[in-house]
Symmetry: C2
Subunit: 82 residues, 2 copies
Amino acid sequence: MKYDVTITISLKSGMLDPEARAIQHALSNLGFETGYLRTARVFEIGIESEDVSEAARKAEEMCERLLANPVIHSYSVEVKEE
Amino acid sequence: MKYDVTITISLKSGMLDPEARAIQHALSNLGFETGYLRTARVFEIGIESEDVSEAARKAEEMCERLLANPVIHSYSVEVKEE
């Protein structure tokens, strides 16, 4: 079966996000005041797998081994049938 | 009213995404074969606004003026009441 997997990687709460602060500052300079601003990365991946739980397991392993830094990132995985 | 706005910025279809190709290649080297891999950036922003449509309009203006490059990016905006 083919699955569409969406992986969202964000900084753990409490981690400094200097890029977010810079963007918030730039938005403020343009007249846009924001209460908070957080950034995240999304990977949409096509995975071939036996079933949904196997696809989710593969995606989690991808996060642990390459996509995320477990020290500073948290991640979520969403699996849909293609 | 305060709104939680989620802005997703991705490359327009047909645009080359060398980072995605590099990640796909690295995953392949780790034994993970992927049918496709796309990347996107997400900004979660707290916006104070009169109503939902005004919050969405502000978010779209942020995209046009700072967050996205309209030549190569497409973006979507999702607004929720805080």
